[in-house]
């Protein structure tokens, strides 16, 4: 485990340095970049993508993927909207608000649980299962709303989306809290350990006595729960719910996880690095926005940025000092070196 965290640390240092470079670069090229308004707009934009990324993180760590996150968030938002509406829309009181939040979280967790059960008890690949869920939930949402918006909520819902506590936006605080919970869950609890182990080698974890089916079910339940949190934040931010809202975030969340150094095969990755990667992506988008470019250029550059980071990582694993054992990437050509005991060997891999 020690080497694992050392690799994590160098990764973290690299990412932080990158964030610093981006900050300085935009600071030099854009006069208005270092202003309070810029940072305020960033702190309002990070939480939605951030919460969805947290929902994506745990399945990726376990060697899977959850492609249904955006629509689980939508459906949870719809549930909340429906409860609020049935309590009188704008006149709904705080009790109705609490019931609505509980209902939204419940629906998110329930969908996640169902997905987890299917992943755990059939041999189907999580990509396929979550893809089917994505199509299904998209359909159910469109069927229920007929593609329209649902709005008309009590005033304090909007305040929750735009309000600040001690100068910090409420959604940001919520995101920070969730990230902290995820960090503790993944590094300090038996469940977090099991998630990492399943990501490294599911069969070995099973033989080692981990109830892999239970853990897999929990992984997707937690993911669904976090999607629901994201759905609630989206509802509060836009003061409306529309199915398909945030759809474009789906692959960005995967991108953020990979940028944050999470192993695409699972088993390795840290919440802190992913949060830094998210901030970096947001800084790029905001900076470009100030320079007058639109979101599409930012999207394109996010893609280019991920490729660049992966190439730098490859150069680093190839030309760095030899004493740190290189897991399985960037191995020099020629016959493979003998595998030291305790290092997993991957014979089957999506490349």
């Amino acid at each position: 485990m020690r080497t694992l965290f050392n690799i994590g640390r160098s990764e973290l240092a690299g990412l932080s340095a990158l964030l610093l470079v981006v900050l300085v670069l935009f600071g030099l090229t854009t006069p208005r970049f270092w202003s309070l308004a810029t940072f305020q707009s960033m702190t309002f934009q990070i939480p939605e993508l951030g919460l969805l990324t947290l929902a994506m993180l745990i399945p990726i760590l376990s060697g899977g993927l959850n492609l249904a996150i955006t629509f689980i968030a939508n459906i949870a938002g719809l549930t909340m909207a429906w409860v609020l509406q049935s309590f009188g829309g704008p006149e709904a009181g705080s009790l109705a608000f609490i019931i609505a939040i509980v209902a939204a979280l419940g629906v998110g967790a329930l969908i996640g649980w169902l997905m987890g059960v299917i992943v755990a008890y059939t041999n189907a690949h999580p990509i396929l299962v979550s893809l089917a869920f994505m199509i299904f939930l998209h359909g159910i949402g469109e069927y229920l709303t007929r593609g329209g918006d649902i709005s008309g909520f009590p005033l304090f819902v909007a305040t929750m989306g735009h309000g600040t506590v001690a100068g910090l936006p409420v959604p940001l605080l919520l995101f920070a809290f969730c990230a902290l919970v995820w960090h503790i869950l993944l590094t300090r609890t038996p469940l977090g350990f099991s998630i990492h182990m399943i990501g490294s080698n599911q069969r070995a974890s099973h033989y080692a006595g981990i109830d892999t089916k239970r853990v897999l079910t929990l992984i997707y339940t937690l993911s669904g729960l976090m999607c629901a949190v994201a759905g609630i934040v989206m509802l509060a931010r836009f003061n409306s719910v529309r199915v398909g809202h945030g759809e474009a975030y789906l692959l960005i969340t995967v991108l953020a996880c990979f940028l944050g150094g999470v192993d695409p095969f699972g088993g390795f990755g840290r919440t802190v690095s992913v949060v830094i990667a998210l901030v970096t992506l947001q800084v790029i988008a905001t900076g470009l926005n100030l320079l007058g470019a639109n979101q599409h250029l930012a999207t394109a550059l996010w893609g280019a940025f991920l490729v660049m980071v992966m190439v730098v990582r490859w150069l680093w694993t190839r030309y760095r000092p030899k004493e740190i054992y290189d897991r399985d990437r960037g191995r020099p050509r020629g016959p493979a070196p003998p595998t030291p005991p305790g290092i997993r060997v991957r014979t089957k891999a999506v490349r």
């Binding site: 199509i135 069927y143 250029l297 992966m310 190439v311 490349r351």
Partner: protein, 327 residues
């Protein structure tokens, strides 16, 4: 105990037959030649994409970027033929195949030379392709395509007794050619065996002297060619080039191909399975249409059909039993 068929192709065929029987009873238009040919013409583009993606999956990779790559190809080809003042199908197909191959080669190069995992590369190029396309085109569609591009080309036409026309149009013929070429590539050529070997065991494939770089360029390049030609057909089918028309198609096609038994991870997959996967989804949508179900419910039912197909074909009954015994 009833033994369920083990191969995904057999299972899919059973599901499709079951759906056809139900639809045949529920509607009187499903079992008509005209409807069968409508299905054929409408699903041609997805089949072209599917066989291309199948090659990449067999070689042990995955590609998320091909649908937006197809949009890039559409746009570039449209601009190119308008630049040279006219053009015709052979020129357009050539340009589309070349540009498609080029975009696939970008993926292959990054995957091979920098040892980045395919899903990371293609999610990055997905964003890069789509972002740059929308940025440079400003989201503007092209409607004034040349006439030869828009004219329906009908290879076979026949009027049935009931007065319906059955037609085989250009996309269906191109689909047949691409399916046949891909079938030859993976089943009849040595290269195909090498693709399977690479997907099944990358280290082993390298040690027995397979040209891994060549295989990567072949697989992603071939998907690029299929994406380019499929994109051209899609523009022909809808009579316009819209930059974000194919956005999101990649996941639908991926679901169909994986449903057809291609293994995420490589080394396994058949053309028949991929086509059956596409057909299953196409029939589900077609049937709902004929049943007069609200279009808003389409995706819901299609998703449910995929879920049922996955759950029933993969259910690990032994696992369930042993768990029950333990409890």
């Amino acid at each position: 105990m009833l033994r369920l068929p083990r191969s995904p192709e057999a299972w899919l065929t059973l599901v499709i037959i079951g759906m056809c029987l139900i639809l045949g009873v529920a509607t009187d238009t499903f079992w008509t030649l005209a409807n069968a040919f409508d299905l054929l013409n409408a699903s041609a583009i997805n089949v072209i994409f599917a066989v291309g993606l199948l090659v990449v999956l067999i070689a042990g990779g995955i590609d998320i970027s091909f649908a937006v790559a197809a949009s890039v190809v559409q746009y570039v080809t449209a601009l190119a033929v308008m630049q040279i003042g006219g053009g015709n199908w052979p020129i357009a197909l050539l340009i589309a195949a070349l540009v498609g191959f080029g975009l696939g080669a970008i993926n292959a190069g990054l995957i091979h030379y920098f040892r980045i995992i395919s899903i990371v590369v293609t999610i990055a190029t997905f964003n890069a392709f789509f972002g740059f396309l929308m940025f440079f085109t400003r989201g503007v569609s092209i409607y004034n395509l040349p006439d030869w591009w828009l004219d329906r080309i009908i290879f076979f036409e026949h009027e049935t007794a009931s007065g319906d026309f059955i037609e085989i149009r250009l996309p269906a013929v191109v689909m047949a050619v691409m399916v046949l070429l891909t079938w030859f590539l993976i089943n009849r050529f040595n290269l195909g065996r090498q693709l399977f070997a690479l997907g099944d065991n990358p280290d082993g494939a390298q040690r027995i002297g397979i040209n891994v770089a060549g295989m990567h360029f072949l697989a992603y390049g071939w998907l690029g060619v299929c994406a380019g030609i499929g994109g051209l057909m899609q523009a022909h089918y809808v009579q316009e080039v819209v930059p974000n028309a194919l956005y999101g198609r990649e996941l639908d096609v991926l679901a169909a191909v994986v449903l057809g038994g291609a293994r995420l991870g490589g080394g396994k997959g058949t053309i028949l399975g991929a086509i059956l996967g596409v057909i299953l989804i196409a029939i589900a949508e077609n049937g709902l249409n004929l049943l007069g179900v609200s279009p808003y419910a389409f995706k819901m039912v299609v998703g449910a059909v995929i879920l049922i197909a996955i759950t029933t074909s993969n259910l690990d009954t032994r696992g369930l039993l042993s768990r029950r015994q333990r409890a």
